[in-house]
Subunit: 276 residues, 2 copies
Amino acid sequence: MKVGFLGFGEVASTLARGLLDQGVQILTCVEGRSSRTVDLAKSAGVELSQTPQEVAESSDIILSTVVPAQTVNVAKEVGKTVKGVYVDLNNVSPATVKKSLSYVVSGKTIDAAIMGGIKNGLKTPIIASGPDADIFAKLNQYGMNIDVIGQGIGQASALKMLRSAYTKGVSALLFETFYAAYRMDVDEFLLNYLSQTEGPLFQESAISRLKSSAFHAKRRAQEMDEVLEFLSDYEDPMMTRATCEFFHSLPLKTGTIKKKPANYRETFRKVDYKGK
Amino acid sequence: MKVGFLGFGEVASTLARGLLDQGVQILTCVEGRSSRTVDLAKSAGVELSQTPQEVAESSDIILSTVVPAQTVNVAKEVGKTVKGVYVDLNNVSPATVKKSLSYVVSGKTIDAAIMGGIKNGLKTPIIASGPDADIFAKLNQYGMNIDVIGQGIGQASALKMLRSAYTKGVSALLFETFYAAYRMDVDEFLLNYLSQTEGPLFQESAISRLKSSAFHAKRRAQEMDEVLEFLSDYEDPMMTRATCEFFHSLPLKTGTIKKKPANYRETFRKVDYKGK
């Protein structure tokens, strides 16, 4: 079994490492990518191709794991050379998935999405839909956790968009609320009181979201652009529009954050600094 | 011990019933109030006064539990006649609490707030602040659950506002996300997937919030007006502005909802109907 990745960030490198351990061959192309990406791929023991087309030609299953804005471009680039099945695993709307997959000439395409963070490694829940989704789900033999939810292209990405609307909205809400609490010096008080009613996972999850929001703001802003466009077909999504605006504006307030902060106050201090 | 209530809605009647059971005398004035309120008070065994001033004169501890918009008016009305301590238990901003309490001539005033729903009865967590907060906390002898968090007027209401920003924001976010999911017929799927990552309380809490949002929308819109004004002193509260807009617009979409719906889809169907 040969699995190819288009794009090699956190998601790809995590899955690649897990699959390599199970004896699956992994390939990707890192031409023109950052030295961090090249190092990630090399250290994981991934076979490096010269071009994305070469990856597409040589893989039984090819996974697109790029940034949302590159989803369509990368599909267009390799679409004619895909030999096996092409899985779009990006956080993009059903419309973007359909557009992207339309470039895959073979027509063997799958809509898929990661539900939750990639921190569970190879066991991270992934949902998939499309007539050929069962082929992708064969990777469950190698330890993956893929759940085929339907036969239509667009179903998996729709569910992912809805999930993102909620979880990214909560992250934005936490940041806004706790930043004000921090400025009043009652953030720990607030954390304690919310923990009493929001369940046993609240405290840890809130702190993790507060720490990652500014660090991942640019990527989330791109994802939220997709979510906003998608939900607008069904309603006037006021909360999602605000979430989108929040993640677009956050980097302007904090400046670029190169390292995940040790605690959430570190990020709040950057906002203070930039605000002055 | 005599405890008086200004306003006699859900919060007052719940606390009154609990305190009556503990042998505390309770009084309120229901002149000009709805027959539902009069019935609530009578059935609980509450002593009825002719005027709010009479309640203020005869109570050791007087609790203001009115709608946010009436907070200042009711304090102005009785301020000169308050004999004991005056507790503002309304969901209003620190600025509104301070304005309201400024009318209490005796100066024996307390800022207090209910943290979470009133469903825990007399044991519902209440926070209090102000130099005389300890007097209010004496009601813990009769089974109440009052936590004095500081000596300043404004501290309890600030924490309550911050809590509301988060919890009401989550409610709005849930409504928006699940309404779209309902229209795609994947709401149960979404509920299941979110439950996997959002903790064991998520499902029950989400359903409860989805059911109550439209039913309580008008009151929440008033509360969110206060929250928005308050947070605007510390930041540009994009998410809270959207939450505020959401609760103001919801009744226009659903029409008046007289009874709490049996399930959340019932509310969504009203949105569909009004939207057509």
